[in-house]
Symmetry: C2
Subunit: 208 residues, 2 copies
Amino acid sequence: MNDYVRDGAEIYRRSFATIRAEADLTGLPDGVARTAVRMIHSCGMVDLVADLAYSPGVVDAARAALLAGAPVLCDTRMVAAGVTRARLPADNPVICTLSDSRVPGLAHQLATTRTAAAVDLWRDRLDGAVVAVGNAPTALFRLLELVESGAGRPAAVIGVPVGFIGAAESKRALAEHPSRLEHLVVHGRRGGSAMAAAAVNAIASEDE
Amino acid sequence: MNDYVRDGAEIYRRSFATIRAEADLTGLPDGVARTAVRMIHSCGMVDLVADLAYSPGVVDAARAALLAGAPVLCDTRMVAAGVTRARLPADNPVICTLSDSRVPGLAHQLATTRTAAAVDLWRDRLDGAVVAVGNAPTALFRLLELVESGAGRPAAVIGVPVGFIGAAESKRALAEHPSRLEHLVVHGRRGGSAMAAAAVNAIASEDE
């Protein structure tokens, strides 16, 4: 049978060493570099760095918010499932409102997707939160609308929705938004729930 | 504010049309092509097809198993969270044993990762199951060991673990395994929980 590495810690160590050897992390602030390493780990692609864009303070802002107990607001259950609870510094709530019973009615009323309607239910917890959007461009667009309407200002937004319709546009809208939210995005079509969760996990703890 | 498509069904339609226009699906059996489209949708990369490998009967075998009520065995909670329950044809159980209280002890005893140890807890349900591995190469290696030891034979294996240490090797081991399991893999480093769940969702229902 195959001889393979069975030691979890050793697998992590070798994985991160490979990523650091192959990825061009030049010029990234330390916290962003650590976050990029974990995002690369989640997708297997070292060239992800080329599409990375961020505000310089995003990791510090997100980390400070988590230390202060901020919730992590996730667009999908997959993102929420991917956040490693043991890495969170303050037993932070990890929230996905997509399964809330009000969502279908709200989506109908707002004439939008369920994922975007679910973002409307973040209103009470948006201010100072860490937001992780890994799937739905409409969730990211709706988030920006809420911020514009004065519903609150998240401490940081991980914006990595994936796909072909609206994903690239929504990430550009976040990166260029006049509200100058602290943000981390992967421009273009790539992204995903695993990448969003990996970014949160990297920010949540400095342990590799 | 940004003008963006808010109609979920329309977003799906345009996304799948874009994928079918850009991806080279030539030569793929119909079921595999439909599955590839959803896997591409989950990661934003039409060139994924180049790394796809499969046994010709994999989609039919997995679909028949699901229709007969087979469980979906997932290596991580993210894969399980990504399987759309409403698409499953027989209210199939979606099982992830990673949080089982026996896993840490078993991992220690077997001197392996927790994810691989969790696969050991599939024994009773392995025969005829649909397996979806989206994260851990060690889970896929362990699965092959169980099959070799006569613990049961899954109806089909979606093998798309992601990463730098063991991922490519584990997928090659599945594709070339002497047991000739029905399989679908993405060779190389790419893969992930979202891709594994997307494959299951494609196979579970013919609705796009």
